[in-house]
Structures are given as structure tokens and as C-alpha cells.
Symmetry: D2
Subunit: 332 residues, 4 copies
């Protein structure tokens, strides 16, 4: 039985993680921390089947756990990560702080000097489909961002097969509102979000570009949009392959995912929609050949931003780290 | 041309009023005030076809207007109302402050002593279908609450015709989220409101009960619920009429609305739904005989909470006060 | 390992059942039938993690299963039920056909003579909280309707404790659109359902009244409404208890659910909302004393109409019938 | 007073047109036809403030009208158009049948030989911002498609100014469900549309590409998506301008819309969202410079698909054709 601690249990990722853990027969939640809700119970914050006391992070007993999940805001997670590692506890960090290998990239995209650059060398980017072996032995896993997960999984096979004729890629992504978190803002007020749709931080401004480029080696123009749904990301990706590349060859490249439990490629002629993935740990992919002669293709990728894009992937990483069956707690 | 001033233009009722006024060919907005947004333009706050400068209330020129609409929070409106009346300007107040004739009722339901009890005698409850003549001559019109409008219009004909065998009434109402206003709170956060539904302040606790009872003379058990839509109220009302009262007699009582432009009674066998009224100034009614023998009937009433339940009714009141055609600016 | 057959896998209840069964470690789906989709695979009809061949009902091998779930339309299920029972297979029927003990009630509410009245004596109404012992030994379990589950669970403790001063009850229920099924109709067309809200079949006309009255002995005025969400039912129930009945006594009556895994009573002062139950097999209850002197109370009850109101309850029944832990496959 | 006839009043475009016409003080609806609903009244089909008898198309009195709007399915409209023109009545056709100048394009994209090629020479593409003078004198106006309106208005100024360095354009569009019409299909069933999001007919397959290319001279890769809202289209458009083209120069090109009442360009740094346009006849544009050095820009364009994308534009065309103020009936 893996003994688990959770830092930051009352945000959407913390809560989703707890919901998943309750179905996981070989893991047990030892503590869950909260800031303003410390002293309350989880059921006071979220309507839920399960219940847990919420404690102050100071009271967390690291000696009693094998692994901690840090669901804290980026920029604030380093002290917790360090303390946990020093206590011999393995860490899965859901913030952005340990995802970029080069501290200069962190500085550039997040606007601050990195809070703990000495940890970067040992941190592993927690995308099991790309880095499973390294994750197995990692002490610190940096869980990928929501958008990057759906985009990197879509592009990786083409890069790996040397099929990208143009390293410039246009990624047009659409995400549910839960991606903006649970903090209050006019942006997430029902009256300003419901029955509308908008683009934000488009072009070269969204921080998640850094992860996409690090893991694919491509240059990405990225346009995120806000959907009036709670969960899910659909990315429409425009690529140029060598002129004449036919669809069979492209599909062959995706054979790399043949044995992956959480990546699905739909048959030719079908495209995934949000509900193919929402509520599951799947990333579902579709390939559309626009024009074989000129090598233009469109990829469509969907995932649940809180599951494969956050807490489900974190749990998948835990399963890998502790040698458990990778799908444990994630079959739904 | 009626010259109009608006206090509090950046809440949902203020904005809805401005949208309606732009289609009204005999009214002209002279000023619109805002607090935190003073100095900006309306287009900076709301996406809209029209645009207006937003000024501080202190800068409003009362000498330039014939009527002001006060779209301010209850408890804060009295000084503005007084200043306007003293300047010879007629007032339509959309807050709750002048709706209850008895200051003791205000004390009981709102928890404070009334801020200007001397004005209550001259204030007219602005439901044109009940008080049109008084509104015509009023200097101060207290625009009704959103829930009370839909409920009073449904019950009034039965009370007037002496058909209420039991003065206890159960009102089960469901309202869109715009009723909770534009202020930030977890209650109106997209993630906590979307795809859910809840009851709140049920039984004898919601303040709107006071208006319903004042205008109907009945005792009301009132259960408001929050719908995951932006606009609209549907009230399901359970009444007991004298045993044996048949449906034709009941429908006859609603003949009182025969010439009303904004109240519709659907034919027997049909019930109104939210979209019959949303976007219009209509209150649409349906009558369902549950059991003629025991006199049990259900009434269903719908309206747009921001139009007939607030700003549309305010404009209707303005039309009445200034002798204009009552439907001006409200035909859609 | 319980071997399971499913008749009617491509409606919403069939699909929800399959999603739940894939997490159930002691059950295994042996066959799933469909009518128009026979020959396809489940993944062609529904986006999903799992996949199954869909066969014609004629090809179902009853010798290979221990239990079948019938997710067929009411009025059509009898031949399948009979054939299964004759083959020695236990049956959980999700249609309405075996819920009413008296065939005259079936005739009255469903408008047809009962298709297999000889089976009614042995059928057990599958609400485990009321009939667990009988379910344990039943060969044919009639799974309750969605509305009745939420209403009967709310009223049962008061009836059992003799606390109903008035046997007339008003039930104002609101249900998500999935309750209307997956067949095409203008009523479930996005443009006619989205952003609206309506009452239907109110008063004494909805067939589910029959179950409510059979199980509680009360007379029910029932007003169902259609919410613009996919899943969930919230019922607001108005009752009269003996004058002076205080809240502590009422709460004591609900102690009957103390050890029930799937019924929750919220603490005084709190009311359940839809999302407390959606996605789970819970029925969550709240009690609001309107006026102790006159004995007026309001009950609020929520459930997921496809889980506790249909497929989750069916699985709970299976667990009871086969002596398994009752929560198996239902902990989320 | 312009006398108006409407063919096909009970689809979403017909109904939206009627709602707009009721606010238009210089137009009067003389007849409205329907197929299956002929003999009923409009209020039986749609909840609405207005009411009209619905007649069979055969009974329409063309002698009594100045103009007809044809809201019929493409491929079926030609006989009605011909009969109207022969009766001396001007025609605004909302179908796709007269939008493409070259009958070979019609054959290619719609799969049939054109039903009335002899009318194409005199038909005018009804986008007033591009073809106002021709519309003024036209007898037959082909009202543009919903997607093309938002896309052509966004691209036209760049084409006109000679600023397109690459004639290949990627258009990623997202539309509300009303674009799929009111006919029943699983695609528009609430349970399959709500809380999801999907791409369809992407690449080079959607018929609206033909209009976009005819009016801009560009080659378009077009990816439409289905949003879970009722109304509105947002298009995200990726273009390449000459290297080094700075934003001021680009904005200058959009000066062509300076006096247009229904096209708005937002200030630099702001992007339009769906609700900027829904409920209005506006097309609102935003320009985002991704990288001036390489000339990469993103355009964002929003409109209400049923208003500027259909019925509002049709009414704007009528105003132009009859020399009325162009904004009449469209100010909201």
C-alpha cells in the first residue's frame, strides 16, 4: 500500500486527485493540506462521497508517507518539494516549476529567477509515453501542463519519425473553464463565461509554449481559447509534412503508441471530440490529411485537462514510480 | 424626448436598461454613473453596440434630466433618491428600499431601520398591472423585485376574484444566475454554478416574501432555486381554490389581464417555459387544474428576471409616468 | 466472478451501466445487445474507454451468464425477462414493467393490460434501503424509476416513524435531460432545451406517481421539470408533520439510514445541490423546518438519475443479490 | 412601408428574421409560409411576442409584396425565386444557391448541376460592406453564408491593401449549434452536444470555402468546430503578411470599414469574444501581431451566425435595396 500525502487539496487538481485515489486499491491518503480551509473537512469545501480532514501544511507528517503530490501554485512549491525530498519522500509536482530543464527558460517565461535551480537536473518531465524509464527511477517528477500534454502527444510521433517538413506549427486549442482554477475573478464569473467563447494569450505569449517546444523541438504558434464547459481540451494542430506523404505512412508513425494504455488513435475518417476523453485519463488523437500533395495535415487531440492533463497523469506517474500496474485507479 | 439619468450603470440591471433605452425613440440617456468604473466608457465594461462615458455620481447633472433610474444596492439608494426628488426629477428606484409601505416590515426583513421613512407614503409600488393610475402621477416609483413580479402577477387575479380558499400558498421558484448580480463570489463562479442546481433561502427566509405578501394579502412559503442559465424565472405555484371550482371560472378571473400588453395567459393544456419570456418584457402564465373536486390548482409563471423582473418593467413604468405608449422600446 | 448480460446497451442507462461495470472487479460482461446497432461495437456508438461487440438479442447466450440487466423500453421487456428466468438466470429489469404490484395499477398508469401479470408476485421492488432482504433472494428485481428513488428515500423515514400529519404531499422535481432518453425528439433538440427550463406532466399525470404512492402510502401531487443539464434530479418536497414537531425528532427518524452507504443526510442548515450526487450512487438529503408550530417542513433530495436513479442502483441490487460487498464498483 | 413576404418561416433563420422585422418601423410582414406547420400560427411553433398565421407557399400572394426573403433549404429555392422575380418582386435568398457566380463551382461543391444558371449573372453577393452599390439595384440578392461573412470581412482589407504575402490562409472557426438548423439529428441532440466540443468537415471539405475563396481570391484551409452554445461564430485566422509589416500599417488597411455601422475593429491588445456580437448585427474584429519580423498575424472575428451571419444581414440588404437607413431594425 503506497502512503500518499497531498499538498493543496482544495483546488480543482487536488480534488480531482483525491477522487481518483479513492478508487485506487493500493494507495492510501495519509494527509491532505489546505491553506484557508485548514481545520475544515474536505466535505465542507467540495460535495463528495469521501471525506478527509484538511490540515495545515506545517502539520504534515512526511515520515508517514512514500510520496507527495504538490498541487500548489507555481512559484510557491519549491520549499515543500525540498523538504519532502530531504525527508526521503518522492515528489510529484503538479506546478510548472520543475518542467523546464533550463533555468533561463523559466526566467524568460515565468518572469522570475528559478527558486531551486539545483533540483532541475534530477527532475523528470512526467509524460510517461515519452519518459517512462526515467520516471520509474525519479525522486522528483514534474507533471506536465494541461495544454502541453495534449499537444506533445499529438506531435511527438511525427517528430520522432522525422516527418516534420516545417518546424513551425500552429496549435489552436480550446479548454474548459476549470483550467483557470477556482480563484475568484470576473473571467470565471458565470455571467461572463457562460454562453460565450474567447481567445486569450494567443500567438507567442502563453507560458505552456515553453514545454511544448522543449519536448518537441518545434516552434509553436499557440492560440488558447476558453470554452463554456467545465472540463476538457481539444487542440487542432496544423502541420506540414514532406510533399506527398501519404496517410498510411503517417499512421505508421503513431504506432509508437501501440501499447500505450492511455493514448488512442481513431481510425481514418474519424475525429475525436471532447467527450471521448472527459472523465478519463485518455488522450485521443485523430489525423486528417488536408492535401497529400503539399503535405498538409491537421491533427486533433483531446484530453480531460484535470485528468490526463493534471491529476490522472500524476497518478499514472505514481503507478510508474512504484512499479504498480500503470492503469490502477484510472480505468474509467 | 424624455431625458434620462442612470445611477449604477455597470451592474446587470443598469446594462440591460441601457440596451433597452437605445431602442426607445423618445428617450435619451443624458448621464450614466458608475463607482469603480467612473472615467471609463461603457464599452470597456460590457461588450455592446452602444457606448457612453461613465461618470462619478457626484458629477451627475440633475438639472438636465426628467427622470433617473437608480440601479444601486439596497440600503444605499436613499440619498440619491432624495437629492433627485429635491431637484424636481422623477425617480424610478430598482432597489428594495421603497417597496414596502410599512417601515416595520423593512426593519424585519432587511434588518435595518428604514433610511428615509418619510418618503414611503409617496412611493408607489411599480407594478403597472396593479397600480397603473398611481404610477402615472408618482414622483417616486419603487420598481418591484424579480421574484415578486412573477408571483404577484400569477396570484393577483385569484385574490381579486375571491377565489383563494386557503391563504397559504407554496411558491417554488427557479431563477437564472444573473439574479445574483455581477459581484464576485464562489456562488457565481462558473465551476460552482455550471451543470448544477440548488435551493437556497427556502421556507420563510427570502426577503422577497415581504413584497409578495403585501401585494396579495396571502401567506407564502417560498423556495427559490438557482438555475444554470443566465436569465429567466419560472415559478410553480400551488394553490387551493374552493372545492369544485372549474377551470373556466378560473380562466375568467384572469380576464383582468385582457388588455395588458405584457401579460399572456396560455390556452388550457399549455404551460409556459423560460424561453417564452426571456428576452422580452412578458410575464407568461399557465393554469393547470390538478383536481377540481378538491380545488387544487397549479400556476406556472415565467418572466425575464432582468426585463419584466427589473429594467424592462422600469422602462414600462417610465412610459406610464410620462404618458407615452406603454410598449415603447419594449417590443421584442 | 459474476457473469453479466446486458439487453439494450446503447441507451443512456445501458451505457452508464457498462461504464460502472468496468470498474467492478467481480463482474464480467459476457454479452451486450442492441437493436439497430447490432453488429457494431460499443465504441462506434459511444465514445468510451472500453469496447464491446454489440450483438442481436437473438444471439445472446443465456447459458453463459448469472444475471441479466434489461435496459429495454417499458412494455417490451416481458419476453426477455421470461426467457431469462426460464433459463435460470436472475433478472434486474430497469423498465417500469414489474414495479407495480397490482396489475390494475399498471393498466391505469401505463394504459395497457400487464404483459406478464403472473410474474408480479415474485418481482421485488429494487430499492435496497427498503427491501434489502427480499432483493437478496429475488429472481426478478424491478429497478425503481429515477424520480421515485429520490422521493421515496426522502419520505420513507417520516412515514415509518408515523410523522406524516397530512398524507397529501407536494413534490416539485427538476431533472436533467438524460431522463428523456436518447431518442430523437424536438423536446431534446439542443436549440429547444438549452438555456431554457420547463414544467411538464404536472399534477396527477406523471406515471412515476404510482411507484411513489405504492411505496409510501401517501397521495402525491408531482410536478416534474426539465433542467438544462445532462444528469441529476433535485426534488423539493413539501410536507406537514404534527404541529410542534421539532427538528431533532425529525432528524431522529432519518437515523434509519445510519448504516446505509448510499444515503446521506446533511447537517441542519445545509441543503444538497445537484453536484453533491451527480457522478455518484448517492442520494443526499436535507431537511428544512419552515415552521415548527404548524409542522411545516421542506425536504430536499438529490441523486444522479442515471446512477442511483437507474444503473448504479441496478448494480447495487446485483451486489445484494449475489452477496457481494454492496459498494463494489460504486465508490466514486 | 415595405411589404414583405417570408418563405420558410419556421426554421431558425426565418424566426430570427421575423423577430427583427417586428422592430422595423418601415416594414410589414404580409405573409409567412411554412411546410408542415402551414395552417398553424407562428406562436404554436415558437414562443414569441408576435404572432402570425403560417400559410402554404402555394397561397402566398406575390402581388401584395415588394420583397420576399427565401429561407428555404439549398437546392429547393430556385422555383420560388423565379416565380417571385417574374411577379416583379425583389428577392433576398438566404440559401446557398445563388452565391457562387460560376455554375461549375456550384456543381463541384454542392454535387448537383445548378438549378437555374440563367439567374446567376444578375444575382449579387449580399455582403453590403463589399458590394453595396450592386445590392442597391439588385433584383436578386444572394445572402452570404454564416462562416463566410465572418471570414471575408476579416480578410478583405488585407487583400484589398495587397498585404497578403502568402495566399494560403488557415481559418479555425467555432460555431454555435443553431448553425446546424432545427431538423432532428443525433448531432444536435442535447445529450450529444451539451458539454462537448468537436471539429467537423475540416480541411478542404466544407462548402463555405467556395464563397470565401470567390470573394477573397485566397486559398483557405477551413476547420469548423461545434460549440455548446446556441448562437455565435468566432473565427481565428492565421495569415502571413510581408516580413516586417508593422501593426499600424495593418490597422490602416482596416480603415476601409471606418464608416461601416456593423463592422467594429477593437483597439490593439484587445480581442473580441462571442458575446461582443451575439444578439447584434455586428461583426467585431481583433488583430494580433504574432511576429512582425516574419509577418505572422492572427485575426479574430466574431458575429451572431443568425443575425450578421444570416437574417440580420438579409434585413441590412433590404434596407440597402430600398434606400432606407441601413441600420433600421438592427440597433441592438
Amino acid at each position: 500500500m503506497i502512503r500518499v500525502g497531498i499538498y493543496g487539496a482544495t483546488g480543482y487538481t487536488g480534488f480531482e486527485l483525491i477522487k481518483l485515489l479513492q478508487r485506487h486499491h493500493q494507495a492510501q491518503i495519509v494527509f491532505a493540506t489546505a491553506r484557508s480551509a485548514a481545520g475544515k473537512r474536505l466535505g465542507d469545501v467540495f460535495p463528495t462521497m469521501i471525506d478527509l480532514p484538511l490540515i495545515d501544511a506545517e502539520e504534515a507528517n512526511l515520515a508517514a508517507v512514500d510520496v507527495v503530490f504538490c498541487c500548489l501554485p507555481h512559484g510557491t512549491t519549491a520549499p515543500t518539494v525540498q523538504r519532502s525530498l530531504e525527508a526521503g519522500v518522492r515528489v510529484i509536482d503538479l506546478s510548472a516549476d520543475f518542467r523546464l530543464r533550463d533555468p533561463a527558460d523559466y526566467q524568460r517565461w515565468y518572469g522570475n529567477t528559478h527558486p531551486a535551480p539545483e533540483l532541475l537536473a534530477s527532475a523528470v518531465y512526467g509524460l510517461p509515453e515519452l519518459h517512462r524509464e526515467a520516471i520509474r527511477h525519479a525522486r522528483l517528477v514534474a507533471n506536465p501542463g494541461c495544454y502541453p500534454t495534449s499537444v506533445i502527444l499529438a506531435l511527438h510521433p511525427l517528430v520522432r519519425a522525422g516527418l516534420m517538413a516545417d518546424t513551425n506549427v500552429i496549435v489552436d486549442s480550446k479548454s474548459g473553464v476549470s483550467g483557470a482554477g477556482r480563484s475568484l475573478s470576473l473571467k470565471t464569473h458565470f455571467g461572463e463565461t457562460h454562453e460565450t467563447f474567447s481567445a486569450y494569450n494567443i500567438g507567442r505569449s502563453h507560458r505552456h509554449i515553453a514545454e511544448m517546444e522543449q519536448e518537441t523541438g518545434l516552434q509553436v504558434i499557440f492560440s488558447p481559447h476558453l470554452l463554456p464547459v467545465f472540463k476538457g481540451i481539444l487542440s487542432t494542430i496544423y502541420v506540414r509534412l514532406p510533399a506527398g506523404t501519404d496517410a498510411a505512412l503517417v499512421r505508421e508513425a503513431y504506432g509508437v503508441y501501440r501499447d500505450e494504455p492511455f493514448v488512442r488513435l481513431l481510425p481514418g475518417g474519424r475525429l475525436p471530440e471532447l467527450r471521448h476523453a472527459v472523465g478519463t485519463n485518455l488522450c485521443v488523437l485523430g489525423i486528417h490529411p488536408v492535401d497529400v500533395d503539399s503535405g498538409r495535415y491537421i491533427l486533433v487531440s483531446v484530453e480531460d485537462n484535470l485528468i490526463k492533463g493534471a491529476s490522472g497523469q500524476a497518478l499514472q506517474n505514481m503507478n510508474v514510480m512504484f512499479g504498480l500496474e500503470e492503469t490502477l485507479g484510472l480505468m474509467s
